[in-house]
């Protein structure tokens, strides 16, 4: 059974509708990539899944439990964690405090401070430093670590590579192997199509708030079909 089932999801910002009936399923342990042009609704979908876009309709089921009408804090406790676009670290807190914030909901699981420091050793060296004074890549590590500390059943990553040097992005994606080894199910939003294909098992393309293409096996992607779905030809 799918870990997350999204059915006919619609999301609104006031009068403006941003998602028009998106249906997707995430299988246990897989990495699912969302691609699409700017404004296609990828970030809205992520934010709607964790309840940050409150005005939403349809169904979001986590292990069968309906979350469409639940608050962000309840969704966090139910086990969906978001690594938000732009990292959104806590400016007055240290690296370690930022990580500890992730454990607010006290879910049990393999991810604790030791495990995060094992994944990103540089964070251990800098754990007393204010998180926002570090480099972009290190901040992204804190953001990922903070989300993992919640021991979610599903990890959402929104544009991890935004504003980072390619070599740093590679380092960050290298850590995914370890995260996947713990059995984590993930949905990632990624602008870099090649990277999205490389790290994911399946993928979908969004355009104007709708799914325009589903790829069931990223080892066999029809680039022409993807291009059409991406640009809407």
């Amino acid at each position: 059974m799918d870990v997350i089932q999204i059915e006919r999801l619609e999301a609104f910002y006031g009068d403006m509708q941003a998602l028009f009936g998106v249906s997707l399923g995430l299988r246990a342990g897989e990495t699912f990539a969302l691609v699409g042009a700017n404004g296609a609704g990828k970030s809205t979908l992520m934010r709607a899944l964790v309840g940050l876009v409150r005005d939403r309709r349809g169904h979001i089921r986590l292990g069968g439990e309906e979350l469409i009408a639940t608050s962000p804090e309840q969704i966090a406790r139910a086990g969906i964690a978001l690594v938000p676009e732009g990292r959104q670290l806590f400016a007055s807190l240290t690296v370690e405090e930022n990580l500890q914030m992730g454990a607010m909901n006290r879910r049990r699981g393999p991810w604790d401070l030791e495990a995060i420091y094992g994944l990103f050793p540089v964070l251990r060296e800098r754990r007393r430093q204010m998180a926002v004074t570090m480099s972009g890549g290190q901040q992204q590590m804190v953001a990922i670590g903070r989300a993992l500390m919640a021991n979610p059943r599903v990890l959402l990553c929104d544009e991890l590579s935004l504003g980072l040097a390619p070599v740093i992005v590679s380092q960050i994606y290298d850590s995914f192997a370890r995260i996947r080894a713990e059995g984590m199910s993930m949905i990632i939003v990624e602008q870099d199509i090649e990277r999205a294909i490389a790290v994911s098992d399946r993928m979908a393309c969004l355009l104007h708030g709708q799914v325009t293409l589903r790829v069931e096996d990223t080892a066999r992607v029809d680039i022409d079909a993807l291009s059409a779905a991406y640009f809407g030809e």
Binding site: E73, L89, M101, R106, R146
Partner: protein
């Protein structure tokens, strides 16, 4: 830690013995300093840690005072025994009003809280039962006897120490961390499971309760309460200026700010012989200068220069999994 406890014991000793050495005038001034510290510390918890800038905190000062005056007169009970009401009534009113007040954000919240304070002020002014604009006496004031200044000084001292210790403990707890995370980044805090609204309501109510207590303690030895004084916007002016000068978002800031405030007030009024509100002009000028030159306030500068770290709330994580078992994931 031992240093902190020793300082605290010393402070308690000084407050305990002070009435043996000081006359009533000095005790009254001392009580005023302690009360000022309390209201500034409570405003700082709300603004500096909770990120909620209230410009209407005089409302809780007045409500706390009126609650004790009304109850003491009606029940004919020593007003000091009724002080819990000065915390309870403001806290309850705050909890009832927050769903409305929290619809306003940032600057709108600041103005909204001010409007709310004015509403309470006008309501009390218009109430004949409460003596209207002239106010009402505390008929039970005589119960305190001749040592009233010493008693009120002790209560204010106990309150000040309690506020300091409790703020320190709470801010070092997981709740404190959650509070600061909401101030830093509301969206990120919500997305990792912090109940933003509940945290804010709680800290707002606690802040109102502390200010209400301080208001009652300050007003009791006057034997008289007047809306113009109890609900004076000056209280909030003092809170903001003291906290901005001392250092917003630090526990030591309000202590330093309060000392500076009284130094300026006594210096301008007694030293220079300038009467009226000139000391507030001086305080405002210092606040503006601080905002321009040291936006974090004076304590952080002093701390870094002298390498002091007395009441910093940087903490080892106290999170215990037994705290909230119902939040744990079902076995998978």
């Amino acid at each position: 830690m031992i240093l902190r406890i020793l300082t605290l014991l010393l402070a308690a000793l000084v407050i305990g013995c002070a009435p043996l050495l000081l006359d009533d005038g000095q005790l009254s001034l001392g009580m005023e300093m302690l009360v000022t510290f309390v209201i500034c510390a409570m405003w700082n918890v709300l603004a500096g840690y909770g990120g909620l800038v209230s410009l209407g905190h005089q409302a809780w000062f007045g409500i706390g005072g009126y609650a004790v005056f009304i109850a003491s007169n009606a029940l004919n009970v020593n007003p000091l025994w009724l002080l819990p009401l000065a915390a309870l009534v403001p806290a309850l009113i705050a909890l009832v009003l927050t769903p409305l007040l929290f619809r306003l954000k940032d600057a709108y919240f600041a103005i909204g809280s001010w409007v709310l304070a004015e509403v309470f002020y006008i309501l009390v002014q218009r109430s004949d039962a409460l003596g209207g604009i002239t106010g009402m006496p505390l008929f039970t004031g005589g119960m305190l006897g001749a040592s009233i200044y010493a008693q009120v000084f002790w209560v204010a001292g106990g309150l000040a120490l309690a506020v300091l210790v409790l703020s320190y403990l709470v801010l070092r707890s997981g709740f404190g961390l959650g509070l600061m995370s909401v101030r830093d980044n509301e969206v990120a805090a919500a997305s990792i499971g912090v109940n933003v609204r509940r945290n804010r309501r709680l800290v707002y109510a606690v802040s109102a309760a502390g200010v209400g207590l301080a208001g009652a303690v300050y007003l009791i030895p006057n034997y008289f309460i007047q809306p113009g004084i109890a609900f004076s916007a000056d209280w909030t002016v003092i809170m903001t200026f003291v906290v901005v000068i001392g250092g917003i978002g630090t526990l030591e800031g309000p202590i330093l700010g309060t000392l500076i405030y009284f130094a300026i007030r006594q210096g301008v009024t007694d030293g220079l012989g300038l009467s009226g509100s000139w000391y507030l002009v001086a305080l405002g000028a210092l606040a503006v200068a601080t905002m321009l030159m040291a936006p974090k306030g004076l304590w952080p500068i002093l701390r870094d220069r002298l390498h002091l770290d007395w009441l910093s709330v940087r903490r080892p994580w106290p999170g215990r999994p037994d705290r909230a078992p119902h939040h744990q994931a079902p076995a998978e």
